[in-house]
Structures are given as structure tokens and as C-alpha cells.
């Protein structure tokens, strides 16, 4: 196994493989980091995955990691590993703009908790990746920095909003990356790009220092080349944080894998599997289900009521929280300010110029749904249906251990294809959003076996059962690889 890895270009390694080679002395963090930087230099002009690369800082950090290793002071499994962070995660002293013009020039005043954890573990941060503005989008086309392209077909989108991170991982510009997921923004680009994308249970990972989109739905998670890497990153990122009161005091996630899928009860919600799916998606995800069945899983159809309403609930709750969270971008303390105007106009014109069309749409939608006379029928009703959705999942998890769906109804679509009709873009998220509404953990793994456009398979587990989730995902990942 080590022999095979020796021949792989260093930027194509997984975290676990990189650690083996670093431990054995066969390579250095400097060499791995340089390989990633070279790949970025070669491909980023075309793909636009990174909006900023920290070349000097990264090489310095890699040197320090190598020194620590030489002194026998390795900090942990992330020491010296080059990673990418999304443009909405604060890293003190670096620009952080959430893909938006309204934050051009804004420099992070402090470290987000998760970046702090990465740095304390000695990870090498390569740079910040492109995203849909304020995480609003499923294609990374709505970025103030221009779109990110799909590494396998630059006329197609990588998905979004963590499209930059997904493209960076797929094209081996980094060993792994972080993304954020509010309605599918880790899982959908992972699906379109054929990588692993994990959204932890709400409350597993601190949101302190993540530019907020919808505070009750946002979660940070790993985007990786393997399930093992995702599990490793989760174990390093998780934890209660006094700076984020929504972090949980549940037992921490500790990776321990089951030997097989034998006897695991798997539910196929009929609402997901009878939906309009692209043929390629249907074929490959159904094949993955068969693999689970052959491996001994008890697969059965289940009824997941209110799944049809999940998207509607999401596209009401989320804009309401967005309209509150984006109120702070007013031209006062940071970012873009239109000058020489009275106060009201300063607010109104700074926001008009700084926000893109989708951000404006959602701010106004939220304002509507929260406004007097409408709040009961829209926001409050959505909160009630949210209770029903959560109960539906609770009931389902009494019958099954895991729920599986295609991650997205389509493979990667063409740039511009869904930009005319906002609703068409929203429908991309139909299988991912109800997971956020319920706060459950879910992972997307690639399931296509012909090397063509990637297809994502989503596994969903009960609250805080990332162990069940990732054990099954890893087993399925192995079975799919054996098919190739």
C-alpha cells in the first residue's frame, strides 16, 4: 500500500496517506504544500476555486510543521497538512468577504473557533475558497469574484455554495477543505464534484467566527477525498464552545467502524425515490442501494411525511434569519460605505450596491415573512411545520437506522442554466434541506462507477449518530470502489 502511495503526486494524497508518508519520513510538509501550491498555480486561473492563496504563510507554516516533526513534537494528525477554508470563515488578519462586494476590504479581526482549532493542530491553511455570496446559492455562480468552474468540465458548475472548496478538493489543489452547509451547501457541491461532504449534527461544531447565514441551520463540515478523512476532521473540529451557545454537550464523536452493513436497517423515503431524477442519478444511486442490500443491510421503503414541504419550510425560515443576520451589513463598521449621503441613504445605497440580486431577494423575502400581518401565516406556520418534519424523522428513525436518498436530483448543470429562474435553482436542494431543518447529520459520497460526471449518494442518521453514519458510509465507499 505504501508502495502505491509513493507514486502518487503529493497533492493527490488523502490526510491519512499524507500522515503515513510524513511519519515514515518519506516526504515533508513543505513538499506536500508546494505540490498543492503548484497545482493551484496551474489550475486556479481556469477554475477560480481559490479567491486568495496564502503562499508565503503556507510555506512558513509547513516549515514549522517539519521542524516540529524533526524535534519529535508533532501536534496531531493535521500537523503540516495543507487545507483550504471557505471565504466565510474568519482567520485573523486575513480578508474575509463571504463572496460579497459589501465586505470587500473587510479583514477578520479574530479567528473563528474552527480555524483556531486547525492552527492549534498545526494545519497549513492554503487560502480561502470561492462561494456563492453569503452562502446563498447552489452553483457558486453568485460570487462577487465570478463563478468557480467544475474541474471535470469547466462549462459546468461545481455546485454551491461551497463550490470553491469542492473544486479545490476534486482538482487536488489541497488535501482537504472546509465548507459550510445551511441547506445543502457542503453536500450538494460534494455530490456534483464526486467527493465526500459531511454536515455534522447541528451543534457539533462551533459557528463562532463563521459569517452567519441562518443561525439555526448553519453548520461547518469537512469536504474530503475519503470518508476516513471526513471522520478525522470532524473529530478535530467538534466540541462545545463558550462562544457559541448552540454547541452541544453531547458525547463527542469518536470514530469506530462497524465491520459491515449486515443488519443495518436502511430506509428509502418514497418521497425522495419517486421524484423526478436525472437518469444517470437514478441508475447510480439505485445501484448503491443494491450494494447495501447485497452487503446484508435490511433495505425498505419508508414514508417520510412533510418531506415535500421541507423545501418550502427552508425557503421561509432561512430568508427570515438571513434578513436579521444581514442587517449588520449597513456600511457603518466595515466593508463598503457609500459616502457623502445622509444616514438613511448611506444604509440603503451601501446595501444596494454591495449586495447581489440573490441576497437582496432573500433579505426582502425574509422581511415579508416576518412582517406584521403575514408573520403568522408564513414564519410561524413554517416553525410549526418544522416541528412536524422533526417528528417525522424521529418516527422514521424508530424503524430504521439510516435514511438514504440521492443527494441531488441532477448531476452538474451548465453555467447559466439555472440563473434565470430562482425557483429552479432552489429545487436543486430538495433532498438536502429537510436535513438542516431537522438538524440531523448527513454525508454525501460519490457513487458513480464509470468515471463520468459524478453522482452523490446521501446518508442521513439520527441526531448525534455520526458514528452510525460514517461507519455505513465507509463500508459503502469500499463497496463502490470495488466495483470500479
Amino acid at each position: 500500500m505504501l508502495h502505491e502511495k509513493d507514486m502518487k503526486p503529493l497533492n493527490e494524497l488523502t490526510i491519512i496517506e499524507a500522515n503515513e508518508l510524513l511519519a515514515s519520513g518519506e516526504t515533508t510538509s513543505k513538499k506536500i504544500t508546494q505540490a498543492c501550491l503548484d497545482q493551484i498555480k496551474g489550475m486556479n486561473d481556469m477554475l477560480n476555486a481559490f479567491v486568495e492563496v496564502y503562499e508565503k504563510d503556507a510555506l512558513e507554516a509547513a516549515d514549522k510543521a517539519d521542524s516540529r516533526r524533526a524535534d519529535g513534537q508533532v501536534l496531531g494528525p493535521l500537523d503540516g497538512i495543507p487545507l483550504a477554508i471557505k471565504d466565510n470563515m474568519m482567520l485573523q488578519g486575513k480578508a474575509c468577504t463571504a463572496g460579497s462586494k459589501i465586505l470587500f476590504g473587510h479583514v477578520a479581526a479574530y479567528d473563528s473557533t474552527i480555524v483556531r482549532k486547525l492552527l492549534d493542530q498545526g494545519a497549513v491553511v492554503l487560502g480561502r475558497t470561492n462561494m456563492d455570496e453569503f452562502a446563498m446559492g447552489s452553483s457558486t455562480e453568485r460570487s462577487a469574484y465570478g463563478p468557480t468552474k467544475h474541474p471535470r468540465d469547466p462549462e459546468r458548475v461545481p455546485g454551491g455554495s461551497s463550490g470553491g472548496s469542492a473544486a479545490a478538493v476534486l482538482s487536488n489543489m489541497c488535501i482537504a477543505a472546509l465548507g459550510s452547509d445551511t441547506g445543502g451547501s457542503i453536500r450538494q457541491p460534494a455530490s456534483l464534484c464526486g467527493i465526500v461532504g459531511l454536515k455534522p449534527t447541528y451543534g457539533r461544531v462551533s459557528r463562532y467566527g463563521l459569517i452567519a447565514m441562518a443561525s439555526s441551520l448553519d453548520q461547518i463540515g469537512p469536504m474530503t477525498k475519503s470518508v476516513d478523512d471526513a471522520a478525522l476532521l470532524l473529530s478535530m473540529l467538534q466540541g462545545q464552545d463558550p462562544n457559541d451557545q448552540t454547541t452541544s454537550d453531547e458525547q463527542p464523536f469518536v470514530q469506530s467502524f462497524q465491520a459491515s452493513l449486515k443488519g443495518v436497517r436502511v430506509g428509502l423515503p418514497k418521497q425522495a425515490w419517486s421524484a423526478g431524477l436525472e437518469d444517470r442519478v437514478k441508475e447510480n444511486t439505485k445501484a448503491a442501494v443494491e450494494l447495501m442490500r447485497e452487503a446484508g443491510a435490511e433495505v425498505k421503503e419508508i414514508d417520510l411525511p412533510y418531506m415535500d414541504e421541507g423545501l418550502a419550510v427552508y425557503y421561509l425560515l432561512m430568508p427570515c434569519e438571513v434578513s436579521a443576520n444581514l442587517a449588520r451589513f449597513d456600511g457603518m463598521r466595515y466593508g463598503l460605505r457609500k459616502t457623502s449621503l445622509p444616514l438613511f441613504e448611506t444604509y440603503a445605497q451601501s446595501r444596494a450596491e454591495g449586495f447581489g440580486a440573490e441576497a437582496k431577494r432573500r433579505v426582502l423575502l425574509g422581511a415579508f415573512a416576518l412582517s406584521s400581518g403575514y408573520i403568522d401565516a408564513y414564519y410561524l406556520q413554517a416553525k410549526k411545520v418544522q416541528s412536524l418534519i422533526r417528528k417525522a424523522y424521529e418516527d422514521a428513525f424508530n424503524e430504521v437506522d439510516l435514511i438514504v436518498t440521492p443527494t441531488t436530483p441532477t448531476t452538474a448543470f451548465k453555467l447559466g442554466e439555472k440563473m434565470e429562474d430562482p425557483l429552479a435553482m432552489y429545487l436543486e436542494d430538495v433532498f438536502t434541506v429537510s436535513v438542516n431543518v431537522a438538524g440531523l447529520p448527513a454525508v454525501s459520497i460519490p457513487c458513480e462507477t464509470d468515471g463520468g460526471m459524478p453522482v452523490g449518494f446521501q446518508l442521513i442518521a439520527p441526531w448525534f449518530k455520526e458514528n452510525t453514519l460514517l461507519s455505513a458510509a465507509k463500508e459503502l465507499e469500499n463497496l463502490i470502489k470495488q466495483q470500479n
Binding site: G105, G335, L364, V385, P422
Partner: protein
């Protein structure tokens, strides 16, 4: 639910967001389509359902003030679009009342 251009302009006022006439018109159309979709939740019987709320926490940390370190402080100040010394410069609140 259909929103008129006027409705949209009113929301834009509330949200402190300037919208041009063509933008407001387009937004009103898009809202028609989006609201048309999300309104399906109104068909769900929620007469016996409570709105979902996060569990209440009792483990509060002590309410103690602390100073920022110098680096953080300087970064916060350097982000000010208008700055005089350590003060944020902003348009006067009571000059030129709201239109």
C-alpha cells in the same frame, strides 16, 4: 400571494435597501413565483402543533467583561470605513431626516 411593486418598495424601505423601478418590478414577479411555491405549507394542519424552538440552556457563563488584545482591537478599528482616532465616524443621525 402576489406582491405589487409598491409592496416590494415598502419592504425595501423596511430593509434599508435601495431598489430601482425595474428591480422592484422584477422582484415582485419573482416573489409571485417563490411565494406561490412556499405557500404550500399553509395547507398543513398545524392546529395542534407548537412552533419548534431550541432547548433552553441554563448553563450560563459568568457575565464578566474582558479587554480585547491589541491585535484584535487594531483590526476592528482598521475596518472602520470612517475613522477619527479610535472613534467610528458616521453620518449624523439627526441631520437630513429620513425621506
Amino acid at each position: 400571494m402576489k406582491l405589487s411593486q409598491e409592496d416590494v418598495k415598502h419592504l425595501a424601505d423596511l430593509a434599508r435597501l435601495d431598489l430601482s423601478e425595474p428591480e422592484a418590478k422584477k422582484m415582485a414577479e419573482e416573489f409571485g413565483s417563490i411565494l406561490g411555491y412556499v405557500e404550500r405549507i399553509q395547507k398543513v394542519d398545524t392546529s395542534k402543533v407548537e412552533p419548534f424552538t431550541m432547548p433552553v440552556r441554563e448553563d450560563w457563563r459568568p457575565d464578566v467583561a474582558f479587554e480585547s488584545d491589541e491585535a484584535t482591537r487594531e483590526l476592528i478599528l482598521s475596518n472602520f470605513p470612517g475613522r477619527t482616532g479610535d472613534l467610528l465616524q458616521a453620518p449624523g443621525v439627526f441631520e437630513n431626516p429620513k425621506r
